[in-house]
């Protein structure tokens, strides 16, 4: 039986809208839309009833005795290509800030063929993340299934210490190696951002020589050396390879006022391809083609092409204490710790000129993290050198569309975000 559940959310996020309406009445001013959730009640498509809806949960992650704050997790089924030899891996981080599926090889029970270069060497990959960490291991091929969608022969990244010695230009990001679930805080990362593949033309050759340290050819004779890999063989966002509903994804999470033990939502595949994934009243924010970013204006200053939406960041990370006058934390030094919660606003602007204000709040992370049971925080925030990283708190109470580069959508030319 199909039960369509509609959440009518009039959270604090929208309170500002009503205040603005009052201001409009009494002061002749009109604010440009509700900063938080949608201006109409948010509808979260129910999982389990449509082929394009996958359940996601902000539940602290799969690792026992540790809470991954503000991470959205889902399960992914992978199969040996063309076979029904499959396994389902839960606790995979949903990340709109990266592209491609990465899974610790220790979790894989399937025989997955490793990708090889034309000279017979094994193809390996190093990914460095914005937090300084890195992951390393071979590229393999798998069929990837989520909800009722199937992507065949997807290049995926297996995280594996024993593959070959980690190249020094991989560990040069300085942070920890996160090849195992414990250090990753997850059983994998599902990169469903706006690019189809993780490196793109820069790793495929052309005018760049020698290859940048990203993909490697590895052999026992020569070790691992940077190598070019054609885009079709690069680790690929599985959504882009779905047979249907492959032009993007919608992340739908309910509002979180303050903090909650967990919340559940949906990841809907496709944009405007089914009755449940239309853009509706969402505004499209195209990204700058060079930087892949949008712009944010905060306290009168515009940070041009320095803002992005990233469900894989576990807070809203912006600017620094000197600029914002918000003190940093003493324990969790990568977060803000104001004396009392702050309600702030900023304005996002796409490369296409669309803009609207965002209301958001900043809590005291050291205090928030003393709670050992809650995993969903609406007000986690921290500093970020000169940039605005709208992390998972941004996604609470909004349906956020990520359109994949090169795909046709009702919102026009991808890549873009819409909400």
């Amino acid at each position: 039986m199909m039960v369509v559940k509609t959440f009518e959310l009039k959270t604090w996020r929208c309170a500002g809208r009503y205040l603005s309406l009052l201001a409009a009445v009494f002061g002749g001013l009109m604010a440009s839309g509700c900063g938080g959730g949608s201006s109409t009640p948010q509808t979260i498509a129910p999982a389990g009833t449509s082929q394009n809806v996958q359940s996601i949960a902000v539940n602290g992650g799969p690792i026992a005795n540790q809470i991954y704050a503000d991470g959205a997790f889902t399960s992914v089924t992978i199969c040996a290509p063309g076979t029904s030899n499959c396994q389902t891996i839960d606790g995979v981080l949903v990340d709109t800030g990266s592209f491609g599926l990465r899974i610790p090889s220790s979790l894989i029970t399937l025989p997955l063929a490793q990708q090889t270069a034309s000279n017979g060497s094994a193809v390996g990959e190093c990914i460095q993340f914005g937090d300084g960490s890195y992951v390393w291991g071979p590229v393999a091929t798998a069929d990837v299934k989520m909800a009722g969608e199937v992507a065949s022969a997807v290049p995926v990244h297996l995280l594996q210490d024993s593959f070959f010695t980690v190249p020094s230009d991989c560990s040069s990001s300085g942070g920890p190696e996160e090849n195992d679930p414990q250090s990753l805080g997850a059983n994998g990362i599902l990169g469903i951002g706006y690019f189809g593949d993780d490196c793109g033309p820069a790793c495929a050759g052309g005018t760049i020589s020698p290859p940048t340290p990203f993909y490697y050819e590895c052999s026992s004779a020569a070790g691992c050396v940077p190598a070019f890999v054609a885009e079709a063989q690069q680790v690929t966002n599985p959504v882009a390879l779905f047979a249907t509903d492959n032009n993007g994804v919608v992340i739908e999470l309910p509002a979180v006022s303050g903090q909650e033990a967990s919340v559940t939502g949906s990841m809907v595949f496709g944009i405007g391809t089914e009755s449940n994934n239309g853009l509706g009243s969402a505004s499209v924010y195209t990204v700058d083609p060079n930087t892949g970013n949008i712009s944010t204006t905060f306290q009168g200053k515009t940070y041009t092409d320095l803002a992005f939406l990233d469900s894989g960041s576990n807070g809203n990370f912006f600017l620094d204490s000197t600029t914002t006058n918000i003190p940093g934390c003493t324990v969790n030094t990568d977060f803000y710790c104001p004396a009392s919660p702050l309600n702030l606003s900023a304005t996002n602007q796409g490369a296409n000129g669309n803009s609207a204000s965002i209301n958001f709040s900043v809590g005291n992370a050291d205090e928030l993290f003393t709670n050992t049971t809650d995993a969903a925080f609406g007000n986690l925030a921290g500093p970020n050198s000169g940039m605005f990283d709208w992390g998972l708190p941004f996604f609470f109470g909004r349906n956020v569309f990520t359109a994949i580069s090169g795909k046709t959508t009702p919102g026009g030319t991808a890549p873009y975000w819409a909400y």
Binding site: G132, G174, T333
Partner: protein
């Protein structure tokens, strides 16, 4: 091409305030190093260099073919007191931070022990500040040694 020769060319460029050097093979300088290390970095990155001079320091901007840009800030005393970067790939921080890579690496690994998750890097030690973040195909950050900042230079100028 040896470093001494390269250094002369950079110095010449500084003499004219702004110049663009398009060299055959690019690379990057290192924090706390001298002007020679700019040439070393340039060679490693296979970058082109554009140098500008302010009243208190020089900025050598290295542009790699991949699109990543590294800026190295050199005081009038000839010391690299800050580096900054942006672009589709993180630069090699082991090369770029030089002697400061080890303390940076220890600090960023220690910071991650407090809680799992993905947040930008912020290291604030008395002798080293590192800010680094971004996402796949778009990174930015900077590192500087507070004690080496020329008098009157604000950390906000480093970007």
């Amino acid at each position: 091409m040896n470093h001494r020769h390269l250094m002369r060319r950079v110095s010449l460029a500084l003499g004219f305030g702004i110049a663009v050097l398009a060299l055959g093979s690019p690379s990057a300088a290192e924090l706390g190093g001298d002007l020679n290390s700019v040439a070393t970095d340039q060679a490693r990155m296979k970058a082109t260099v554009r140098s500008t001079q302010t009243s208190s320091y020089a900025v050598h901007e290295l542009q790699a073919a991949t699109g990543t840009v590294v800026r190295e800030y050199v005081s009038s005393a000839g010391k690299v007191f800050a580096v900054a970067w942006h672009g589709p790939f993180l630069p090699n921080l082991r090369d770029l931070l030089g002697q400061y890579f080890a303390p940076y690496s220890q600090a960023v690994q220690a910071a991650k022990l407090h809680h799992p998750g993905r947040s930008p890097v912020l290291i604030q030690q008395s002798g080293l500040v590192v800010e680094s973040g971004g996402h796949m195909r778009s990174f930015a950050g900077k590192a500087y040694v507070p004690q080496l900042l020329p008098e009157g230079t604000s950390a906000e100028e480093i970007r």
